[in-house]
Symmetry: C2
């Protein structure tokens, strides 16, 4: 089946909202072996929405529309489907009663406008939404199926799993698509491309592609086959070859994140973790505590934004700050050692730096990371381009990678201190 | 001018990468009064990319392509433009020399594959990229202009400002689009829609639309006029009416974030800030330190993930934990008071809770927030739906809003304890 995604909402065109829903749909469909070929955004404009639905009906077998099913006046997806398919809108008394019960069960009175959510284009099936009040719609038209789903990400996700993915996976027939993502850190995208140039296959089966995201370069291998076992067999030799070629640049596979790797290392070694952060303001700790079950190894963090906190709560000697300045490797080392002591952790990651927009002692983008382990404490200075948010994000990722290398005993060696790789 | 955005990359269709570039382009064009009408995603497939460019040429006056200009083998935007417009690829010796200098200036050897970035479809102008090695391209074809920009967000942003926005703003002529976003917290989207139903204008000038994002509901007013002053004059009366109707639900305007509001309140009152976080693991501190210049008022944070840290670093009495449990209002209050004392801050925000996936003492989604101010410390328990990441994000936003209300002396009253609003 050829699938087209239409994300509805002027806020998407204006850039007020980022289209994460298209990514969610793409991921779930690819996991089910369904190829997404078209993905577009439409504003809250009746005529353009009707034109987009008609264009999609002319080139796709399945259309997944997201957004525009809310209770407010600018939610016009139901009307647009009705116009594009020449089916009048009907009203479901049964769904209206269910809506009233939903609000009552939460002890709140239903705003009258929510009744709009009981409307549907003739012939459509209303699909129960366990997470919200807007039902999803499924409409079979000549030769194509239209799904309309709410734009609220948590609702969309559940409804995709419940209704859309099973239907489309079945219609897609036997073929499956399997992707493997090999995650690397430490080299530029072009250097990775060169290292793999003789293994590169754009249109082959499996195919290879490169993605650069926030300091990490990923290599995606994709295979089509009739079963996932067959697809895995196609991927396996290329995956091994890539991993062997890239060696320790590779840190993970598929959805595995650097924070999960760091956790795994800590659990393996029976070590606890802590952070001491200045310029990143708690971002390293936030990333680490994303991992479910992180309380098994994560002790806590001290965000030492003001110099007082570095002195008092982390015990950084005033003399070190006076001699070397607050953005320096000796201070980062004292912070990491101090956090390990103050928080009772085996491993402590520290960050100090000048994230901008105004320079702090050092030029903007000068970021110092240190990692304390039971064996030693080492520091490294990075020079990063970009604005405050980019510097902070790249530093957070860099700090987690340095922790991985320190914990696995492979502390950075022979790699450039500056450059695109971090 | 009618503008179409084409974002290139199979990773976008597969959902491995979220299409933030389309949002960036939409924002910058709207700010310049240019209406974005079409936005689509294309995979790294030569034929489909050529078809998409031809479709765009048939319905738009300007096409902004992003992605596919990198140095690796799957970067085929140059080739696709060349095929879609029937112009052969040329090679720029001058740009090739510049590329070599760029790498040399960074003390690194240029991978040979980067020379690909000196290719261009005949007739295109190579636009210098101050942030990276891939030049942008500008090609005037019959009646339309094509811009091709790298997909790296930081590079894209600079190149939009330098080349794309000035050209398109000029071609768009005199008209401008002005948007005002009124930001609210504390009520559901449908309730806000009802409160404003008599003021609602979908297609008028100005028009109104609603957006729900992570616990905040936004109302966007958009006006078209020949000058921005005229557009502002169209918006002003509706903006006042909406703000008056919604009263203290409104917390900010346009890009103003809740963390900036909290900072503004602290600066006004001469207060310093700190946080003590358990389940949010530093997310509240990360949000607060996003604000440039936050070091003026932010002292620091203690992430007290393990119970030891609550006892030792925040001084929460063991008896309070024994009596009430760690996820409780008395513990949140003791954490906030403890953080204010330990970190020497006037205002401290604390969070404890059960974020999941496994319940901790209380059911998943039970989150307790407290705010210490020089006047008093108060706590509030929220019950939030969704997974770990959603619960943590909504709690972080909720904590900042509670801090705003506590600092401005309007602590929560008469509002539901549960519901979609938080």
């Amino acid at each position: 089946v050829i699938v087209e995604v239409l994300a509805v909402g002027t806020e998407l065109l204006l850039g007020h909202t980022v289209n994460t829903n298209a990514a969610t749909i793409g991921t779930k469909l690819a996991d089910a072996g369904v190829d997404l070929q078209y993905s577009s955004v439409i504003g809250d404009d009746h005529d353009r929405m009707v034109a987009a639905i008609r264009l999609a009906l002319s080139r796709a077998d399945a259309i997944v529309i997201t957004g525009g099913l809310g209770p407010t006046q600018d939610d016009i997806t139901r009307e647009a489907i009705s116009s594009a398919t020449d089916r009048p809108l009907r009203f479901s008394d049964e769904y209206a009663a269910r809506l009233k019960r939903w609000w009552e069960s939460r002890g709140r009175e239903m705003p009258e406008s929510n009744l709009k959510q009981a409307e549907y284009p003739e012939g459509a099936v209303l699909l129960d939404n366990p997470k919200g009040t807007a039902p999803a719609l499924q409409l079979e038209t000549d030769g194509a199926v239209i799904f309309a789903l709410p734009g609220v990400p948590a609702e969309l996700e559940v409804l995709l799993d419940l209704y859309v993915v099973p239907v489309l996976a079945e219609r897609a027939g036997e073929g499956v698509v399997v992707s493997r993502v090999i995650r690397t850190y430490g080299e530029s995208e072009s250097r990775i491309g060169e290292l793999l140039s003789d293994l590169y296959v754009a249109k082959g089966n499996p195919s290879m592609a490169f993605l650069a995201t926030a300091a990490e370069i990923k290599i995606r291998l994709t295979a089509h086959a009739s079963t996932s076992d067959d697809a895995e067999r196609l991927i396996a030799p290329l995956e091994s070859a890539v991993k062997e070629r890239l060696g320790r640049l590779v840190f993970g596979t598929d959805a595995e994140t650097i924070e999960e790797i760091v956790f795994g290392l800590a659990r393996e070694r029976g070590w606890t973790l802590a952070t001491a952060e200045s310029a990143t303001g708690g971002m390293v700790a936030s990333r680490l505590t994303k991992v479910p079950g992180s309380s098994q190894v994560f002790r806590g963090a001290i965000v030492a934004y003001h110099e007082d906190i570095k002195l008092m709560n982390l015990g950084v000697p005033a003399g070190i700050i006076e001699t070397h300045g607050v953005v320096s490797e000796p201070v980062a080392i004292a912070m990491a050692d101090g956090a390990a002591a103050a928080l009772g952790a085996d491993v402590a990651i520290s960050v100090t730096g000048s994230a901008g927009p105004d320079p702090q002692e050092q030029p903007v983008g000068t970021m110092v990371i240190a990692v304390h382990t039971p064996e030693q404490t080492m520091a490294r200075t990075l020079t990063l381009p970009g604005d405050r948010e980019r510097v902070r994000t790249y530093t957070t990722t860099g700090a987690l990678h340095l922790a991985r290398l320190a914990m696995s005993g492979e502390w950075w060696s022979g790699q450039p201190r500056r450059g695109r790789w971090v």
